[in-house]
């Protein structure tokens, strides 16, 4: 339970920083200080400036906000897709099941970075979210399907079916609630995974489009210059790792708390 609490506190702190940070910072994230290019931390710029004269603190909290939003959106969409496909495949069984799972298998074979690389450029952040979610739902869907297959023959579901409740209504009223914990855990894990995945894409130049920034874009930007300008790398990288740790702590803690084994 301590892990859940630690994850929650950490995530809440990060969310607070993302929400309040821009108001706290004396500079706007896209504001350029023409008197300070690539300078180290000072009272004027708490965490220094980039080579373009942007305030590192302001840019990073803005990027954190963007990354958290992307992570949350991807996780919500991926978990929704997984719940939809997993329950339909598991509940219907037979041919529909085989066809859906075959599609999920094929998606896993396709290289995710390549799809994002080919599909996301030119389109905005929404396309990026859709691509990331489209690639992340398959493993959750497989777990949902397995759970639904065992739930399908439980007494309370059979009773609903015998009482003449329609299949979609049975799924929503009697199957999905039993899966809520599994879905919640997976959504939590997906938030962290999505943020890290976006960062990876940013490293190859396929993440959020400039001038927009995400934590991954800042890390990719600051990495090569780390020996000369460590402050450009350290803060975004630390936030990225903290976000991933927080999401994992929360999800793992929840899984252990909810799993009676």
């Amino acid at each position: 339970m301590t892990r859940v609490a630690a994850g929650l506190v950490l995530l809440a702190a990060l969310a607070l920083l993302a929400a309040a940070g821009p108001a706290l910072a004396p500079w706007a994230w896209d504001e350029i200080d023409f008197t300070a290019f690539g300078e180290g931390p000072s009272r004027r710029h708490w965490l220094g400036t980039t080579q373009h004269g942007r305030d590192v603190f302001a840019v990073t909290v803005h990027a954190l906000r963007r990354s958290l939003l992307i992570g949350a959106a991807v996780a919500a969409l991926a978990t929704f897709l997984a719940a939809l496909v997993g329950t339909v495949a598991g509940y219907a069984g037979g041919r529909a099941d085989r066809a859906l799972m075959w599609c999920a298998d094929l998606l896993f074979v396709l290289p995710p970075f390549l799809l994002a690389a080919v599909l996301a450029p030119g389109a905005g952040t929404l396309a990026l979210v859709a691509v990331l979610a489209g690639l992340m739902w398959t493993s959750t869907a497989r777990m949902v399907r397995a759970a639904v297959r065992s739930l399908r023959d439980r007494e309370h579901v059979l009773a609903a079916r015998l009482a003449g409740v329609s299949a979609p209504r049975t799924i929503v009223r009697h199957v999905l609630p039993a899966l809520a914990s599994l879905l919640a855990v997976d959504a939590g894990l997906n938030v962290g995974a999505a943020i890290v995945a976006e960062s990876g894409l940013a490293h190859l130049g396929f993440g959020v489009r400039p001038p927009g920034v995400s934590l991954g874009a800042l890390v990719a930007d600051g990495g090569p210059a780390v020996l000369a300008f460590p402050w450009r790398f350290a803060f975004p990288a630390a936030l990225l790792v903290l976000t991933a740790v927080a999401a994992n702590l929360l999800a793992d803690g929840l899984r252990d708390a909810l799993d009676p084994r």
């Binding site: 074979v109 396709l110 390549l114 190859l204 890390v219 990495g223 990288a237 991933a244 740790v245 994992n248």
Partner: protein, 312 residues
């Protein structure tokens, strides 16, 4: 066993072929090679650009399905087409892949072995000092993205160089010392992931009846774990092989990029930007083959580790 393997091989081949085809069709439909050729200075005449695109099987006026047929016929003959500069894709893919393999493979093997050892060790000492040290460490390490780890390793190496006064650690060439840092980074990342799973799967079987029977027979806990629990605990690890292959492919591209190597990742990024459909399809096709191949390897490994799945 032979029939089972044959069936699985057929399925893997089908998946790879479908995946590679999908990648080609996507790339052919989404990318625009014309802009790159026409955007050169001085601007070439349209007819020249068109002729060049047609020669490279990249003509946007030909529907992707027709281009796909030409490409697929070439691939079946072992010809992956040509890049936008007119050089053959095959040798370039080979060269780039070699860069990645040199960088990633030693680290992956080393990291997996280290991870299994650490995981079993932590499970055997569950709740004791070793476990309390190893488990949180691997937990945090597994959450650090590999490209952050690579930059941290470079920073540490830079500090070592500064302290020593000479460039003791380099990471830009492919000599043994130049490969040390990338190998270390991949090994650490891989070990952290593997150790977490290995600890869990070892604990899952540590209380199984057959391990308790071994203990009751008089084996020490250590011997019981190594002789009887290790093998079944490796089964879930083998099942993760396709996932690991996909992770390593992407991680390798990122590590290459951070260590300034011109490998698959850099080639993919540049090819997407240029609209070089044949090169993108080659990298994608490689990935689409790697995952089913790893799945096949996982099936074989499962058969080797678990006698119950072997048909009598």
């Amino acid at each position: 066993m032979a029939a089972f393997l044959l069936r699985r091989t057929g399925r893997a081949a089908l998946q790879a072929a479908l995946g590679a085809s999908l990648v080609y069709l996507l790339a052919a439909a989404a990318l625009d090679p014309r802009a790159h050729l026409a955007g050169r200075a001085p601007r070439p005449p349209d007819a020249v650009v068109d002729a060049r695109l047609a020669r490279l099987n990249l003509d946007p006026r030909v529907p992707p399905s027709a281009r796909y047929r030409v490409w697929a016929a070439g691939v079946l003959r072992g010809d992956l087409g040509r890049t936008l500069d007119g050089r053959p894709v095959g040798p370039e893919l080979h060269r780039r892949l070699a860069v990645g393999v040199r960088l990633v493979l030693p680290g992956a093997v080393l990291g997996s072995a280290l991870g299994i050892a650490l995981g079993v060790w932590a499970a055997a000492r569950r709740g004791r000092a070793a476990d309390l040290l190893v488990t949180p460490l691997t937990y945090v390490l597994a959450a650090v993205p590999v490209f952050v780890l690579a930059v941290l390793a470079q920073t540490a190496a830079g500090a070592v160089n500064d302290a020593a006064g000479v460039r003791a650690v380099t990471w830009t060439d492919d000599t043994a010392s130049g490969l040390l840092l990338p190998t270390l980074v991949i090994a650490l990342a891989q070990a952290a992931l593997v150790a977490r799973y290995q600890r869990g799967s070892t604990l899952d079987v540590a209380d199984a009846a057959f391990v308790r029977a071994a203990r009751a027979k008089g084996l020490r806990r250590r011997a019981a774990l190594l002789r009887h629990a290790l093998r079944p605990a490796l089964v879930p690890q083998g099942a993760r092989l396709p996932h690991t292959a996909a992770m390593l492919l992407l991680g390798g591209m990122l590590v290459e990029q951070v260590f300034g190597r011109h490998g698959l990742g850099a080639w993919l990024a540049a090819s997407v930007a240029r609209g070089d459909v044949n090169a993108v399809a080659a990298v994608g096709g490689l990935a689409a083959c790697a995952v089913p191949a790893a799945a096949l390897a996982a099936d074989v490994l499962h058969g080797l580790l678990d006698p119950r799945v072997r048909p009598a």
